[in-house]
């Protein structure tokens, strides 16, 4: 053609940082106990670090066993004197109000979430915060309808729920825990994760502003010792934990012989199975969402890719090309696909596994992403040439690291998918409906995504088989973990 072409030089997206001037963080945050912000008895504070630049965002109070004790006592008082006497419909209205206030302040929460945890603003803005609000909104409506969830049974709260949440979805996990507990009439002591306490503390402020009766929700920041104190506390009627399988196992050891109820949402090593007849481009996109969403800090991540041999080569080429287009960098840049790894410790753990994989003889591909000089970052990584017995195939890495294995037949794929101690999630990609149902029926896992991955909704129960956990959260079935069922009067 005759006209003067522009060069086909790369078109770089200019940085598009989310504004932070509307976000106010205090220098120091106290414990939220009995409706008030109180100093920890130890007087000890620790910093919360922005993993994108290693700067301190704020100091948080390190709760000890005595602080946990005070929080449990406050929750018990609130349960006895107020919350158990509050009409269910009124309980619901508090939750509706919290949902609304969270929606009003969504952007502020999203920015803080990205600063505190390193996740891209695109995700905190479009996933974490809207879903957190949706959880409150969904559970609000259950408060006065619980008899319909449990046919032919009366429903009573358990009392005080102790809740321990992880750092990968800080506010969303707080919502997952608090909303159903309150809807069912329990009071709460919540312990956020050490590296990401800030949005939970902002939620405490919001809860205060929403006029929730003091002590109904208590938030105690702390490390593992605070969590252990909560688990061991005799005044707690139920423990809800989301985190690693090892800690979950410790909690079950501790509580198995006791009358304290527990639900555990633990680790995973999900198979994501792509058949030759799948829509390959959409499968590639699904693989990316499955493992690189939230830097791979996702218990239900599709970390084991199983591809039918006949399309493995073509799919791998497309996957590598797609990985190369992922933008790794500043979590607050609206164009960032992969933000910062949550902490120095987690980055070290991921790097350790990258070394292990290479030592085991796997071939490592990493996209040539420009990583910022400061902060904790990891390029999206793909291990090929792995076998079922490799540690990188068996163990949860909790980072942007995918392994790829091939299979020939349906049965081989199923066998490899189920050959794990975990059972949290799984993915299937095929254009054939009957094959989808055959596979989704036989994968031993609590959440199965067919031709999609990493979808969450407050109406959809979530939880694991086997070592991935005990009990469900979300949806109708998630209510079960917070109620005591009784026989209705006059019925057997």
């Amino acid at each position: 053609m005759s006209h003067d072409p522009l060069s086909s030089a790369p078109w770089h997206y200019a940085s598009a940082p989310e504004a932070t001037d509307h976000v106010l963080l205090d220098e120091r945050y106290e414990l939220f106990i009995g409706g008030k912000f109180v100093a920890p008895k130890s007087g000890e504070y620790r910093p919360s670090i922005n993993p994108a630049n290693e700067k301190t965002l704020a100091q948080w109070a390190a709760a000890g066993a005595d602080d946990v004790d005070a929080a449990v006592a406050a929750a018990r008082r609130a349960y006895r004197s107020v919350w158990s006497k509050t009409k269910p419909a009124e309980r619901g209205k508090y939750l509706f109000r919290i949902a609304r206030q969270l929606q009003e302040r969504a952007r502020e929460f999203a920015v803080i979430e990205s600063m505190d945890g390193g996740k891209p603003i695109r995700e905190s803005r479009d996933v974490d915060i809207p879903l957190a609000a949706a959880h409150f909104f969904y559970h609000a409506g259950w408060a006065d309808k619980l008899e319909y969830a449990f046919p032919n049974r009366s429903v009573a709260p358990l009392g005080v729920a102790g809740q321990i949440i992880p750092w990968n979805f800080p506010l969303l996990m707080a919502a997952w825990k608090i909303a159903p507990a309150l809807a069912t009439g329990n009071t709460v002591v919540l312990k956020p994760a050490e590296t990401t306490p800030l949005t939970a503390l902002k939620l405490a402020e919001l809860i205060q502003e929403a006029d929730l009766p003091p002590g109904v929700v208590n938030i105690v920041t702390g490390d593992g010792t605070a969590g252990a104190a909560l688990v061991a506390h005799p005044g707690v009627d139920k423990i809800a934990f989301t985190g690693s399988t090892n800690v979950g196992r410790e909690i079950q050891r501790r509580l198995a012989g006791s009358s304290t109820r527990y639900t555990l949402e633990l680790g995973g090593k999900a198979a994501n199975i792509v058949f030759a007849d799948a829509a390959i481009d959409e499968a590639v996109e699904g693989i990316v969402n499955a493992i690189f969403f939230n830097q791979g800090h996702v218990c239900c991540a599709g970390s084991r890719l199983l591809v039918q041999e006949s399309v493995a080569e073509a799919l791998t080429a497309k996957l590598k090309a797609r990985m190369a287009s992922l933008i790794v960098g500043d979590p607050l840049d609206k164009n960032t696909d992969i933000g910062a790894i949550n902490s120095r410790e987690q980055l070290q753990r991921i790097r350790h596994y990258l070394d292990v994989g290479v030592e085991e003889g796997a071939e490592l591909y990493q996209s040539a992403a420009d990583l910022p000089g400061k902060g904790y970052y990891c390029a999206p990584s793909l291990f090929s040439g792995v076998s079922q017995s490799d540690r990188v195939v068996q163990e949860e890495i909790f980072g942007p690291v995918l392994t790829i294995q091939t299979f020939r037949t349906f049965d081989e794929a199923l066998m490899k998918a189920n050959n794990t101690r975990y059972g949290l999630s799984g993915g299937v990609w095929t254009d054939k409906g009957s094959k989808i149902f055959k596979m989704t029926n036989q994968i031993r896992a609590g959440v199965i995504w067919a031709n999609t991955f990493n979808k969450f909704d407050p109406t959809a129960p979530f939880g694991g088989y086997k070592e991935s956990g005990v009990g469900r959260e979300g949806g109708l079935h998630g209510l079960d973990g917070y109620v005591e069922l009784g026989h209705r009067r006059g019925k057997s």
């Binding site: 198995a256 012989g257 006791s258 979808k455």
Partner: protein
């Protein structure tokens, strides 16, 4: 010859063995324990299962799981109903056996009748609990999302001590109607009904390995039920000092589901929530094209 015909006929006593994988082996250990009537007379020698017998039973239950869990709800309901028919036809024997183990005639008759009715009750749930307890989830995105119940897997049952037949039947029926397979340890003081029940299960077309019944001592076997890595759930029906915190804690090794049914009144346990307790909820998502 006339003297012979006048002497009382010697009855043929039943040998009570274990029930593993559809067969009736003795304990591999060769051990037994004796049950005596209140007058001190021997009622029966009962096999005393070892941890190896338990291990074999778990292997059988695991092997049977795929087939049983994928059988249709209708079929499972029919098989449970068939078991009820078999029990009905042999009810006199079960009443006598309960009497031998110390029940009064009236209570023995009630327990057998209730056990038959309990089987019928759960048979009827086979093709209904899924409808009542599953859900279609109205998610906000363009996906068809549903949650249904799937069997937890291999369920260990440490059966109730007093309710030797009805308690056992209730726990086993609730587990298998939901597609699980079972290894149960019978009541120590009333173990005979379990083995007779095994004969009923076998003749009722319950596939081999779906239910495995052991007799023996909780003090010896409970820890193996709780610590076995291929058992997915354990039902505990007795407050028992041998199942102390330490033993219970071993359930955490594979995060098995630990179900406490210690304070149940088994006479009133017509309860579909017993089925739900040995089910996992599986949530499946699929896109809906616009």
């Amino acid at each position: 010859m006339s003297r012979d015909s006048e002497s009382p006929r010697l009855s043929v006593a039943k040998t009570y063995k274990l029930y593993i994988n559809g067969r009736f082996p003795r304990s591999e250990s060769g051990r037994y324990f004796s049950l005596s009537a209140s007058n001190g007379k021997l009622t029966a020698n009962v096999s005393r299962a070892s941890r190896k017998d338990f291990r074999e039973a778990v292997v059988a239950a695991r092997a049977a799981l795929d087939g049983w869990s994928s059988s249709s709800a209708y079929l499972r309901g029919q098989i449970l109903y068939r078991v009820a028919e078999m029990l009905e036809s042999r009810s006199a024997e079960f009443v006598a056996e309960l009497r031998d183990q110390g029940r009064s005639q009236a209570r023995a008759r009630t327990e057998v009748s209730e056990s038959i009715d309990r089987l019928v009750y759960f048979a009827g749930w086979a093709d209904k609990y899924q409808q009542v307890f599953s859900a279609v989830n109205p998610v906000a995105t363009s996906h068809f999302c549903f949650s249904l119940l799937e069997p937890t897997g291999v369920v260990g049952v440490l059966a109730p001590e007093r309710s030797g037949l009805l308690g056992l039947v209730s726990n086993v029926a609730a587990a298998i109607v939901g597609g699980n397979t079972v290894v149960a340890l019978a009541s120590e003081s009333r173990p005979l009904s379990a083995i007779s029940l095994a004969e009923v299960l076998q003749s009722g077309d319950v596939p081999a390995g779906v239910v495995n019944l052991l007799t023996g001592f909780r003090a010896e076997l409970a820890e193996h039920f709780l610590s076995h890595m291929d058992v997915n759930a354990v039902v505990v029906c007795e407050h028992d000092p041998v199942i102390d915190d330490g033993v219970a804690a071993t359930s955490a090794e594979n995060l098995k589901r630990l179900l406490n049914r210690c304070d149940r009144d088994w006479r009133t346990a017509t309860d579909p929530y017993l089925i739900c307790e040995t089910q996992e909820v599986k949530t499946t998502w699929h896109p809906i094209a616009p």
